[in-house]
């Protein structure tokens, strides 16, 4: 039964939705605005929201003081590398769970997901020591592997739900048509699951990009990504809010732009399986 919604009510709902959206977005908006203020305006009380002298000075200082591009590059390598490696491992894993499940498949899936509930700090010490022993502290490849392992349960789980939607008969048809396992994955399953794989890649990339706990603890100079770049501005010389905001804005800009352009994929990915 359709419900009648009056125009007034619609307008009210729209206003409410905008309000909630604004509240959620406010911290980011505030950070971006602050990055264009002087340090004095940034800490002014009562706070100045829009009417201040807009300046790019902070960005200049940040760029002078640290090499943004190097941090950016590290972020790209760590987030991109861990995503790529994760997806290569997760596709066959999710395939086997979706199409040739064993009696324990459900348990394994749940167990994998349960590792995400473990507080990361619980394994910091052993992993830190392991990195020292192996001589891979502050190493990009080590971070690629660690972040891949951390996000793997989510990638496998997401791909599994996508693959479950694909009719098994199509894969059987491929088998009858002479496709081996490799061809079946490459020519039939993967192309059919492209939307699912794309949103999984996207989500994982964002998770890895924003990951701060491991990147801050396991890097110092060579492998430090943008999260470390932001952290370096909460400096011991006193708080420079405007500069910290400029650094933060620079760090989140790439992922924000990527997220903006791929909203549709992302929403589909996050809500997939919710409506069946």
């Amino acid at each position: 039964m359709a419900r009648a919604v009056t125009t007034q009510r619609k307008a009210l709902n729209t206003a409410l939705a905008w309000l909630v959206g604004l509240v959620i977005f406010f911290p980011i908006l505030w950070t971006i605005l602050t990055s264009f203020k002087t340090e004095a305006e940034a800490i002014a009380n009562p706070p100045i929201i829009l009417f201040f002298d807009w300046t790019l000075e902070n960005y200049g200082v940040v760029q002078e003081r640290s090499n943004y591009v190097r941090f950016l590059w590290n972020s790209v390598i760590i987030a991109g590398g861990s995503t790529l490696l994760g997806i290569l491992i997760a596709i066959p894993a999710a395939w086997s769970m979706a199409f040739v499940p064993s009696r324990r498949t459900k348990d394994i899936l749940l167990w994998m997901l349960s590792t995400k509930m473990l507080p990361a700090v619980g394994v910091l010490y052993p992993i830190y020591l392991l990195c020292i022993q192996l001589g891979v502290l502050d190493n990009r490849i080590a971070l690629v592997v660690i972040l891949m392992l951390i996000n793997l349960p989510i990638i496998v789980w997401m791909l599994y739900t996508y693959f479950k939607e694909i009719p098994g008969e199509i894969l059987e048809a491929a088998r009858m048509d002479g496709a081996g396992l490799k061809e079946e994955l490459l020519y039939v399953l993967t192309p059919m699951a492209v939307p699912g794989i794309a949103s999984t890649i996207l989500l994982n990339f964002i998770l890895a990009w924003n990951e701060a706990f491991w990147t801050l603890n396991l890097t110092s100079v060579d492998a430090a990504p943008l999260t470390a770049f932001i952290a370096s501005y909460s400096s011991p010389e006193g708080l420079f809010f405007a500069k910290l905001s400029a650094a933060s804005t620079m760090a989140i800009a790439p992922i924000l732009i990527l997220g903006w352009f791929s909203q549709k994929q992302l929403v589909r990915g996050l809500t997939f399986g919710a409506v069946k």
């Binding site: 008969e169 199509i170 048809a173 491929a174 088998r175 009858m176 048509d177 002479g178 081996g180 020519y187």
Partner: protein, 334 residues
């Protein structure tokens, strides 16, 4: 060549044995139909032959070679699925060419074979479309096209027509029979529709609960059903089965008489009854007649239109030549 032999083939899912040890030989070039009610194991049997399910025991031989452990891709069989199972991201051309591509055939030969299959199946105008842009019948043709390009040892059909509407089904039925006559390749066809079985098969295998109830040509099954199950399953409308005193009079536990083998008379006959509901098909009329001493109404088939109405009193006589007699176990008596 496509001679398929099942030797004590058995299938169990966990504790449940869906197919007890079963022997069957399918000769090269034969059109064999597996028919039976749903859940009788006919699809499972087909999937065992295809290699999509592993057998729990026994041996499958294709042209004398043991294929029990051979993966589906290497058995040289082609399958047409009920859901068509086309690759939705590929054009019709690519769908049909897929098995050839997997076999590593060169592009020119692939194109030649796709063209000739498309010609046979009237798909030439649709080669660049995606499956999503085709009707059900066209999709089914693409699925058949994908099967014939490989020139397989045998075709396996898993209820290929059950997703089509009635008119299309009759058309496709003829097309598949036509294809069989032209290619002369072994075909194994699974259906629950006994009309499809009767019209298409060289040999019908009637299955129930994983057991083979009877194997024979359509007319053998029609004329001499081995037991009550086959008698009731083959033929449309169903054979009338009568027990009790009427059967005892013929020295049997149950007698069976097909609707087309009962004579109707105004004056005299073996059984007397009143006409119930009648179904007029134009070419034939089916009367449901309630007879004295027989609990279930009998179905009677009369050619053309006959002037009988609801409540009319008539006399029926079974044609003694076509009377089937069964013992207490349901087996056919000589």
């Amino acid at each position: 060549m496509g001679r398929i032999t099942l030797d004590k083939v058995r299938k169990a899912f966990g504790e449940v044995e869906v197919i007890p040890p079963l022997d069957l030989t399918i000769e090269d070039g034969e059109f064999v139909v597996f028919v039976g009610p749903s859940g009788c194991g006919k699809s499972t049997l087909l999937r065992l032959i295809a290699g999509l399910e592993d057998v729990s025991g026994g041996e499958i031989r294709i042209d004398g070679q043991d294929a029990t452990m051979v993966p589906p891709a290497k058995r040289g069989l082609a399958m047409v699925f009920q859901s068509y199972a086309l690759y939705p991201h590929m054009s019709v051309r690519k769908n049909i060419a897929f098995p050839l591509r997997m076999a590593g055939m060169d592009a020119a030969e692939q194109e030649r074979r796709v063209k000739s299959a498309a010609d046979v199946l009237n798909l030439t105008d649709y080669l660049d479309r995606r499956p999503g842009q085709l009707s059900g019948g066209q999709r089914q043709r693409v699925a058949i096209g994908r099967a014939i390009v490989r020139e397989p040892a045998a075709f396996l059909f898993d209820e290929p027509l059950s997703n089509l509407d009635a008119a299309l089904r009759v058309g496709m039925r003829l097309e598949i029979s036509e294809l069989h006559k032209r290619l002369n390749t072994t075909m194994i066809y699974v259906t629950h529709d006994q009309v499809e079985a009767m019209t298409m098969a060289d040999k019908i295998v009637v299955l129930r609960a994983g057991h083979i109830e009877q194997v024979g040509s359509p007319l053998e099954l029609y004329r001499t059903p081995r037991n009550l199950f086959v008698a009731g399953f083959i033929g449309s409308p169903k054979m009338n089965l009568i027990g009790g005193a009427v059967a005892s009079a013929h020295d049997a536990a149950t007698i069976g008489i097909r609707p087309e083998h009962i004579r109707v008379s105004d004056e005299a006959g073996d059984w007397t009854g009143t006409v119930g509901v009648s179904e007029h098909l134009g070419s034939d009329t089916f009367f449901h007649v309630n007879c004295e001493g027989i609990p279930d109404p009998l179905t009677v088939r009369v050619g053309g239109e006959v002037d009988l109405h609801y409540g009319d009193r008539i006399h029926l006589s079974p044609d003694p030549e076509h009377l089937h007699r069964f013992d207490a176990e349901g087996l056919r008596l000589p």
